[in-house]
Every structure is written in structure tokens, then in C-alpha cells.
């Protein structure tokens, strides 16, 4: 009897566990992890500073308001308006780039996308690795290429921080172009490679936040909800157990 019950439970769990490898396989990108922590407020602030110094010239965050940034990043209205807002937008307005759309198409072949949701659409790992993977390529229109996103139309906006990377090509197979084996720093930038990885990690963290501002809140709320529900479930189990004593006795 007990055996059959155990078997039932095992089958139910088995069905669940059987789906786990399937679940795990979904995140099948092979990129190294960005290692971001969206709750690290200092990283968010550093990432925001980088974004507003190097990215917002071309890319908007149209779903993010300056006022919300102030609240979530622990900054005052003054700090946001004088350090992050360079477009004259009002405090309650969203972060919009001033790059004209027509000009952008002419210059880059493509309008720079809004980055509000980039971390959810492509993943933080993609952003982090992409920002580290630029190299000089004279064959491209803007002189840059990228190993994570080959033939990207974007030049490296952070080159003065990172320095200039060049590609080391492997042996070309007949009829194919040589693949990039690794990237080498040709001329150092203002940051050491480690510092630069840290900076791009901060930037990825900031974009992880802009993609889902609720992420700051939901985990801290979630802990209490789950504690409450777990307690409630335990009490409900006791109630059930108490009531069912009748049925078991009769049996």
C-alpha cells in the first residue's frame, strides 16, 4: 500500500524532473556569464554613468523615466538632472536620444535600437560579451567588427576606455574566410582589461535593471510572500490532518 503511494509520488516527481533537462537546455547560449547582480546599487550607478556618457548619444531608453532612475538608483533629482540628463528633458520624461532617426540610418545603415529591453531580448551575457568583443576591421564601413555579433553596424563606443583590439585569424579552410581565433589588445586604453571588464559588467547590470525595474522589488517582496504561503500551507496541512483523522479511524 505504502509502496503504491510512494510510486505515485515518485511518478509525479519523475515527470517533473524529466522536464528539467529540457528547461535547462533553453538557456543554451554558450557565452561566458556576465556575473551581474542587479541589486548592487553602486554597480547600477556606475553603469548609469557609463550609459549616459557613452550610449545615450545614439540609444534611447524610452521606457525609463529620469524620475524613476532617481528613485531606483538612490539619486537626488539634482544629481540625475545635472549628471545624467544632457538633453534638457524634464525630470518625469523618458530617456530619449537626440540622434535624428534619418541621420542615424544614413550614418550606420540602421537606426540604433532602443535599449530599454535589450537585456531581456538578448540577455545580459550577450551585452557583456558583445561590449568586450569589438576589434578593428578596415573592411567594415565604420572600421569595426565584433566576434559576438559579426558584422554589427555599431562602432566600439568604449574604445578609449578599452583600447584598440585586433583579431588574430586562424588558418583559412579552402573556400572559406579565416575565422577569428582570439582578440589581442593592440593599443591599451585608459582602463586595464580587468577594469574594462568591470565597467562593461556595470553597464550590463544597468541594462538588466532598465529591462525590468521590478527586479529590484520583486525578490524582496517574494521572500515574504513565500514565507507567508509556506506557513499557511503548513497550517492548512494541520487542519487537513485533523479533519481526516475521522476518515482514517473509520477505515
Amino acid at each position: 500500500m505504502i509502496k503504491r503511494y510512494v510510486f505515485s509520488v515518485a511518478l509525479a516527481l519523475g515527470l517533473f524532473v524529466a522536464t528539467l533537462p529540457v528547461l535547462a537546455a533553453e538557456g543554451g547560449e554558450d557565452l561566458p556569464s556576465a556575473g551581474t547582480n542587479v541589486n548592487d546599487r553602486a554597480a547600477l550607478q556606475r553603469g548609469a554613468r557609463l550609459f549616459f556618457n557613452y550610449c545615450v548619444g545614439c540609444h534611447s531608453l524610452k521606457y525609463v523615466r529620469y524620475s524613476r532612475l532617481a528613485t531606483d538608483l538612490g539619486l537626488s533629482e539634482d544629481e540625475v538632472m545635472s549628471n545624467l540628463n544632457f538633453t534638457g528633458a524634464k525630470f518625469g520624461e523618458p530617456v530619449l536620444s537626440h540622434m535624428p532617426a534619418d541621420g542615424a540610418k544614413a550614418w550606420f545603415g540602421k537606426e540604433p535600437p532602443d535599449l530599454s529591453l535589450e537585456a531581456r531580448a538578448k540577455g545580459v551575457d550577450f551585452i557583456f560579451n558583445y561590449l568586450n568583443a569589438f576589434y578593428l576591421d578596415p573592411s567594415r564601413p565604420v572600421g569595426w567588427n565584433n566576434t559576438v555579433f559579426p558584422n554589427a553596424s555599431m562602432p566600439n563606443p568604449l574604445w578609449e576606455l578599452q583600447g584598440l583590439q585586433v583579431a588574430v585569424h586562424g588558418e583559412a579552410k579552402p573556400g572559406q574566410e579565416a575565422t577569428v581565433e582570439k582578440l589581442e589588445l593592440q593599443r591599451p586604453g585608459r582602463m586595464t582589461p580587468d577594469e574594462f571588464r568591470g565597467a562593461t559588467r556595470d553597464l550590463a547590470t544597468f541594462l538588466e535593471y532598465t529591462a525590468e525595474p521590478a527586479a529590484l522589488e520583486r525578490q524582496s517582496v517574494g521572500v515574504w510572500v513565500i514565507l507567508f504561503l509556506a506557513g499557511l500551507t503548513f497550517l492548512l496541512y494541520l487542519v487537513k490532518h485533523e479533519y481526516w483523522k475521522d476518515v482514517h479511524e473509520e477505515h
Binding site: S8, L15, A25, L117, E217, V221, V225, K240, V247
Partner: protein
């Protein structure tokens, strides 16, 4: 209070007995196990979807231009909007989790068999409406996967000879999924289908209470000895739904909500399975996502569609196969002619076939979701992915359809060697 009750009772004398029959004094077998939680949990999720859905519609904009923005507005600017949306999106996936387990329970314990065929048919109708409801809801955020998913699914109707292409246009109200499509899907998702769903759920329960619940032993408690401590005329092996199953189901609700809360608060996209990465990009008819695939709960059926090749110059066979795979489930009461209900006392052949069904269904899900397309090159670098995937997928499709064929032959021609069924239900906890 008592006078109000009398006042109502005088004017509607059947109300109280109906309530007792269907709720408080519905006598259910006392040996329900783990598998019997999923029916009440499906009701819970349905209520969750309706309540959170009402709040979502207060802020959602039904327009191809504004839909995507309005969803982000809900996620960012609406107070607790993110929670409401995550409850709705997680609820949609968990709805299918509990419904699949509920259906599996029915197959495993023979709950679809005489006299409960009507309950099963109504349940299958609920499943069909639920699939339509989920598909249309998935289109509403108007992300890029919403758009392409809608395009692929609607174009299935294009395989129907003669009327196909005009039918597709008629469904979309345009030549592509567009504003007209979004508006009509909103109407169907928010009003039409929920009404049908609620009606079917009421009928499903009414039909069930007419014949009484099955149980893990598949024994008819109505035919067993009479008289229990609550009522001298009711089956000895049954207990009144209230309080016994209300408290038991409440415990199940608590357990389920704890798991749901974990997903909602800590993994709302569930690694891209409940909310897909490509759907965080607005709909764009010029940019095709790298892998167009439906939501995970459609993937087994989608895989059947993909695995059946076109021949005689038409792709309709896959569509027939896909809908046929659901129709066969609905016809199970007439396919499985075995006299014994519960898997506990059925022949070895049935047990094996049931295992094959589960493995095939899950594997088809993996094929439909593109998991095999990723795993095959990882495990076998030199394999031709398409050939291997087709071979595996077709084998699993064969397993799925084979279940029905096998069970029919097995039970129709008397091959099944069943074990003796006990006189009364067994209980073991």
C-alpha cells in the same frame, strides 16, 4: 440571517438542495491521492486568470501601435502592474501544467470510461477552448514572437484545399497579422472564450456530480456498501466534499501557490519558457526571430505538425495529424474498451503503453520547442541535425499515435490480462 435564508428559500426552493448536491454534500470517494488535486487547482488558476485579466485590461491598449508600449507601461508605471502581469503569464503556463496532469490522471485511472464519457468530452472541449484562449492571449503583447507565432498558427488554416488562403485572410482581417487581428483576438480572449470556458467548466462539474467521481482504484463506490457516519444512504467509502475535500484541496492550494509564488517572484520568465526572449522585441514583420516556435504547452502538437511531411502537393496532413492527436484523446472512451478502469489492476501492456505515451508526449514537446535541434549537434557533432531530428520526432509521433492503436487492439480483441479488482476502495496513508 436566518430570515434572509428563509426568504430566499421560499422563492427558490431548489437552490439549497442544488448547492448541497454539488458542493457541501457531494459525496466523493475517500481514497483520492496526489493526482486528484489538479482539478480544483485548474479552477483556482481559472479564477486567477479572470481576476488578473480584468486588471490587465484596465491598462492594456488594444492597438498594434500601442499594445507593446502599454504592456511595458503595466510593467513599470502601474502600481503592482508587474505582479499582476506575472501572475497572469505564469498562470497561463501553470494552467497547462495542471490541465495536462489532470488529463493524465483521467487516462491513468480510467476516469473517462463509462459512465463518465460526457465528463471527459466536456473536459476535452475545455482543453480545446483553453488552447485557443492561450494562443490569442499570447498574441496580445504584440511582441515579435506574438506576431510570428500568430502568422504561423493562422497560416495552418491555409493548408485547407480551395478555401485556405481566403480563410487565412478572413481570420486575420488583413494580409498579415495586424491591428485588425489584434483587436478581434482581444475580443475573443477577453469576452467570448472566457464565457465559453466558464460555461463548459460548469457543465463539466455538473456532469461529474451526476455520475460521481472515479478514484485511484477505479472502483464504483456507488455500487459498494451503503451507509457512512454522515448519511445512512450514501456510499460507505465516500466522504462529504465539505469539509473533507475542501480542507484537503485548500492544503493543495497552499502548496501550489507557494510554487507559483516562487516562479512569479524569482523566475517570472522561467528561463525563457513562460515569457520568451524574442517577445521583448516589438512585433516586426521584416525581422523573423531565429527560431519561431509556439509556447511550450503547444510544442508536442506543433512537433506532430512538423514531423508529418507534405505529400500529394499539400501540407494538410500535418495539420490533420495535429488536430487528430487531440481528437483521438477525446475519443478515448471508445478506443479503450477495457473493462477495468485503474492502471493498478490493468494488464502489463496498458502500463507499458501509458509509459510510451508519456515519453512520446514529452519528447515531442522537446522536438517542438527546438531542444533536440540544440542537443543533437551538442551530443553528436557530426550528425545531420534535420535527419536525426526527423527520425527521432517521427518515432515519437509514432509512439503517440501507437498508444491509441495499441490500446484499441489490446482491449477490443481481449488481449488484456487484468488483475482482480477489489470490492472496495483501498486506502494507504
Amino acid at each position: 440571517m436566518a430570515s434572509l435564508f428563509d426568504w430566499v428559500n421560499e422563492r427558490a426552493p431548489n437552490l439549497a438542495p442544488t448547492f448541497r448536491k454539488h458542493m457541501t454534500e457531494y459525496y466523493a470517494p475517500k481514497n483520492f491521492n496526489l493526482w486528484y488535486y489538479f482539478g480544483s487547482l485548474a479552477m483556482l488558476v481559472l479564477v486567477n486568470q479572470i481576476v488578473t485579466g480584468i486588471f490587465l485590461t484596465m491598462n492594456y491598449k488594444t492597438s498594434a501601435l500601442e499594445a507593446f508600449n502599454s504592456v511595458e507601461y503595466i510593467m513599470r508605471d502601474v502600481e503592482w502592474g508587474w505582479l499582476i502581469r506575472y501572475m497572469h503569464s505564469t498562470g497561463a503556463s501553470l494552467f497547462f501544467v495542471v490541465v495536462f496532469l489532470h488529463m493524465f490522471r483521467g487516462i491513468m485511472y480510467g476516469s473517462f470510461k463509462r459512465p463518465r464519457e460526457l465528463v471527459w468530452i466536456l473536459g476535452m472541449l475545455i482543453f480545446l477552448v483553453l488552447m485557443a484562449e492561450a494562443f490569442m492571449g499570447y498574441v496580445l503583447p504584440w511582441g515579435n514572437m506574438s506576431f510570428w507565432g500568430a502568422k504561423v498558427i493562422i497560416s495552418l488554416f491555409g493548408t485547407i484545399p480551395y478555401i485556405g488562403s481566403s480563410l487565412v485572410e478572413w481570420i486575420m482581417g488583413d494580409f498579415l497579422p495586424a491591428d485588425a487581428t489584434l483587436n478581434r483576438f482581444f475580443a475573443l480572449h477577453v469576452i467570448a472564450l472566457p464565457l465559453v470556458l466558464l460555461l463548459l467548466v460548469v457543465l463539466h462539474l455538473a456532469a461529474l456530480h451526476e455520475v460521481g467521481s472515479n478514484n485511484p482504484d477505479g472502483v464504483d463506490v456507488k455500487h459498494g456498501p451503503k451507509g457512512n457516519r454522515w448519511d445512512a444512504d450514501k456510499p460507505k467509502d465516500a466522504v462529504p466534499f465539505h469539509p473533507y475535500y475542501t480542507v484537503k484541496d485548500l492544503f493543495g492550494v497552499g502548496f501550489f501557490l507557494t510554487i507559483a509564488a516562487f516562479i512569479i517572484f524569482f523566475a517570472p520568465t522561467f528561463g525563457g519558457w513562460f515569457l520568451e526572449h524574442d517577445n521583448f522585441t516589438p512585433a516586426n514583420n521584416l525581422v523573423t526571430p531565429s527560431h519561431i516556435k509556439p509556447s511550450w504547452y503547444f510544442t508536442p502538437f506543433y512537433a506532430i505538425l512538423r514531423m508529418i511531411p507534405s505529400f500529394f502537393g499539400t501540407a494538410i496532413w500535418g495539420v490533420i495529424g495535429m488536430f487528430g492527436s487531440i481528437l483521438l484523446l477525446a475519443l478515448l472512451p471508445w478506443i479503450d474498451k477495457g473493462a477495468v478502469r485503474s492502471v493498478r489492476y490493468r494488464g502489463l501492456g496498458f502500463r507499458i503503453a501509458l509509459g510510451v505515451l508519456v515519453v512520446s508526449f514529452l519528447s515531442l514537446g522537446a522536438v517542438g520547442a527546438g531542444v533536440t535541434a540544440e542537443l543533437i549537434p551538442a551530443w553528436f557533432p557530426h550528425a545531420d541535425v534535420t535527419t536525426w531530428e526527423n527520425a527521432f520526432g517521427r518515432l515519437m509521433a509514432l509512439g503517440y499515435f501507437g498508444f491509441f492503436l495499441f490500446v484499441w487492439v489490446y482491449t477490443r480483441f481481449g488481449f488484456e490480462k487484468t488483475k482482480p479488482v477489489p470490492e472496495r476502495v483501498t486506502m494507504h496513508d
